[in-house]
């Protein structure tokens, strides 16, 4: 095979590594199952020989009936093309998997999450600690035999909610009348809480390993969880030498709302409103990704009109999200609130359209499997047209005029928080962060979903990988979104908005699927495993900002404290999605 072919064709892993790899032949599954001992070798070959350079998602699935835990890896090529899946299987009672961090540093936070929630131990991981829960938490909550304190039944709808026509609250079933549970024979007084000791120890360990000879007075500074710069309840622990950052650890989980555990009890449709609350600034694009994943499993295709309305909503969402991102980046730079007020003003107008079509400003819950919940009224279309054709381009230009050449913006942003293209790919960054580093990867182009192959638009990208380029990429993306919107509104056909009848309970065949979209903040993916029942067996969200945060520490090292705030702002995190 020529080099070009190896780099572009999908490799047949089972013929390349016949002894190590077998195809995943369960009905409805794709990809390959790799022997655990050979995982690193196969992953390295895939990365170096076959060009799968970006590890998109790492997650685990608990197959309780078979007594196995499975780790699922999704990789793709930044030159485009579909996603590639491979898995390893380990016994539930001793789940040890080699860590992929040495190959793909972007796996760091994701492997920590799989360890925290499923108890999979990754050998060779540099810092395997709990991430979403806290040190000392009892158990691994996403295991199927782990029950939460308010546990009622394995799957919804619960029968226990209405015994004899009476409402019963979850509190009534719990001995503490609260959402808590403790191990048997536990004595609260004898407990020594961890109180971040493990965290601080890791920080100092890194310091000691890097400069064993130097005995400087490095100090630890906490930013957050309540801090105006952290965009919610995020926390950064920085190890400082003077004002210089030696190392930094992101600490999250302050908004961990157990999205995945709840979703595995819910029916498929019941999850739709929950996806709204992931990236709550861009609810429509979350709906989109989830609907795509379920539709892939069900094998349905939404009608034309629905496809167009979906694209319109997703692009409006992108504009809202970028307005807010840019506004709040300026907040972090010290332009206290004025630029964000300009952004929020435009958001209000777009949110009005969301309210017209879905009935809610923020939590739209608008997409359904095979279509949409409601049609877009002619007034809503008219209003969107006015906004898109007239006001938005003007307002984006206005932003541009006020900010792009602003002296302070340029001084604070240019050359700060640089991420090279190689690092960005290795750290699994996606979305504007990846593109600003000079890798023009956009899922809408790389693997077009829905009807994105019909529109003309350019993929915005930067060349320097600094904060300023991330800002420019977002500005350019807003313009491109307006361009897509104009085409979509021009071509919007009449017709039905739903394939088949709307139903509360959908039939989802057994199998797995991965639906992904180019969300405003990066690649948003949903990994679903269905076993043919009304509830998903596994429901995993590949949250773009969570994974983009892996690059926060490498970008900040060596910089100043004040820059960290701006770097964080340029990643544009939303905690609902980071912590889920």
């Amino acid at each position: 095979m020529s080099d070009l072919q190896t780099q572009t064709l999908v490799p047949q892993l089972d013929t390349i590594f016949p002894d190590w790899v077998r195809p995943d032949d369960r009905a409805g599954y794709q990809g390959y199952i790799v022997e655990t001992e050979h995982l690193l070798a196969v992953a390295k070959a895939l990365r170096d020989t076959y060009g799968y350079d970006l590890l998109s998602s790492v997650t685990g699935v608990d197959y309780l009936p078979e007594g196995k835990l499975e780790v699922v890896y999704h990789v793709f090529r930044t030159t485009g093309g579909p996603i590639f899946v491979y898995k390893v299987q380990v016994p539930r009672d001793n789940p040890v998997v080699p860590s992929l961090v040495p190959l793909y540093p972007g796996a760091e936070l994701q492997e920590r999450e799989a360890y925290d929630l499923l108890g999979i131990r990754f050998e060779g991981h540099p810092d395997l600690r709990r991430i979403l829960t806290w040190e000392g938490f009892a158990g691994h909550p996403l295991r199927k035999d782990w029950h939460e304190p308010y546990f009622e039944e394995e799957a919804k709808p619960y029968k226990s909610r209405w015994p004899e026509g009476q409402v019963r609250r979850a509190e009534d079933l719990n001995p503490f009348a609260d959402n808590v549970d403790y191990p048997a024979g536990f004595d609260p007084e004898s407990l020594v809480p961890d109180a971040d000791d493990t965290l601080y120890k890791t920080l100092f360990r890194v310091q000691q390993a890097q400069h064993p000879e130097i005995k400087t007075d490095a100090i630890v500074v906490n930013l957050g969880p309540q801090h105006p710069s952290t965009h919610g309840v995020f926390r950064m622990v920085a190890l400082l030498e003077g004002e210089k950052i030696l190392d930094l650890k992101p600490v999250m989980g302050y908004l961990h709302r157990n999205h995945e555990k709840i979703a595995e009890r819910n029916t498929f449709l019941q999850n739709m409103p929950f996806t709204d609350r992931l990236d709550y600034i861009a609810s429509m694009s979350n709906n989109f990704a989830y609907a795509l994943a379920v539709e892939k499993l069900m094998g349905v295709q939404p009608p034309e009109r629905a496809e167009y309305i979906r694209v319109i909503m997703a692009e409006l969402t992108r504009i809202v999200s970028h307005f807010i991102a840019v506004g709040f980046l300026l907040n972090d730079l010290g332009a206290f609130f004025t630029p964000s007020l300009y952004g929020i003003k435009e958001r209000e107008l777009i949110v009005d359209i969301f309210e017209m079509v879905s009935g809610s400003r923020m939590m739209c819950n608008y997409f359904r499997f095979g279509g949409l919940a409601r049609d877009m009224s002619p007034e809503a279309v008219q209003k969107t047209k006015e906004l898109v054709n007239d006001r938005l381009p003007r307002k984006i230009d206005e932003f541009d005029r006020y900010l792009t050449e602003n002296e302070i913006v340029r001084q604070r942003c240019e050359g700060v928080g640089v991420l090279t293209p190689e690092d960005a790919i290795a750290l699994s960054a996606t979305g504007p962060v990846l593109r600003a580093s000079g890798v023009p990867y956009d899922v809408r182009r790389a693997e077009p979903y829905s009807i994105y192959d019909r529109f003309e638009f350019d993929v915005a990208y930067g060349l320097h990988g600094d904060i300023y380029d991330r800002y420019l990429v977002r500005m350019e993306e807003m313009r491109q979104s307006v361009r897509i919107l104009k085409q979509a509104l021009r071509d919007l056909p009449e017709g039905p908005i739903m394939t088949g009848k709307p139903a509360y309970q959908v039939r989802v065949p057994a199998g797995e699927s991965y639906g992904r979209v180019e969300g405003p903040k990066g690649e948003l993916g949903f990994y679903l495993v269905s076993n043919g029942k009304p509830n998903p067996w596994r429901y995993h969200v590949r949250a773009p900002t969570f994974i983009n945060l892996t690059s926060l520490a490498p970008m900040s090292r060596g910089g100043k404290v004040a820059d960290v705030v701006a770097i964080l702002g340029s990643i544009d995190i939303v905690l609902g999605e980071v912590d889920r």
Partner: protein, 218 residues
């Protein structure tokens, strides 16, 4: 006419002074001043915080009611708007922030999550309402509440303030107010006020388990 207003009547104000002198009660002017400069703490937890920011922004603009100054520090804030899901990992910080706010202090629970757990209530790290730990003055329903209903909640808080009196206020009483004990993160969230109950129930659980084990062994 309320009791207070009637009491001001006996004071006759000469005609020529009417435009310069007003007679009122101390409570009234004290509450008038306070309730029109309620500074919220800049503190967002989750999705509801976005609607809180929207309420602060130009279209809804809660500075019309004297709330324009959002303070990131609890020391300078009058009201804590708990805007979003309260998790077990976050509640120690929230209680600490509440303890750090100077009196008089108020709490608004904004949204279903802060009021009672909301859509994520069944989750294993979600606190079923912030009022399990700190006292709440106004509850606002909705997921998220619209900016209008947040404004309504803030106005309700102002009305509540206007009912208060210096004579009975807790912040001028002799005894200092007691801080709320900070919850501890162990195997699960532990409220220091409930240690006895936790010990009791865990022992009972253990007893039940050993009894079960013996039955199985037989």
């Amino acid at each position: 006419m309320s009791e207070q207003e009637r009491r001001t009547e006996p004071y006759e104000i000469p005609e020529e002074m009417k435009s310069q002198v007003a007679v009122t009660t101390l409570d009234k002017i004290y509450n008038w001043g306070r309730s029109n400069s309620v500074w919220p703490m800049m503190f967002g937890l989750a999705c509801c915080a976005i609607e809180m920011i929207a309420t602060a922004a130009s279209r809804y603009d809660f500075s019309r009611f004297g709330m324009e100054v959002m303070r990131p520090s609890p020391r300078q804030a009058d009201v804590m708007i708990v805007s979003g899901t309260v998790t077990k990992k976050m509640i120690p910080t929230i209680v600490r922030l509440y303890n750090q706010m100077p009196e008089p202090k108020y709490v608004i629970a904004m949204g279903a999550c802060a009021c009672g757990g909301g859509p994520f209530k069944e989750g294993y790290t979600v606190v079923s309402g912030v009022d399990r730990f700190i006292p709440v003055d106004v509850y606002i329903v909705g997921c998220p509440p619209t900016p209008q209903s947040l404004l309504n909640g803030l106005i309700t808080l102002q009305k509540k303030m206007e009912q208060e009196s210096i004579a009975t206020s807790r912040w001028y009483s002799k005894a200092p107010s007691q801080p709320i004990p900070i919850p501890v993160l162990g195997p699960d969230l532990m409220d220091p006020r409930k240690f006895d109950l936790i010990r009791q129930q865990s022992a009972a659980k253990k007893a039940a388990q050993t009894a079960d084990g013996e039955v199985e062994n037989e």
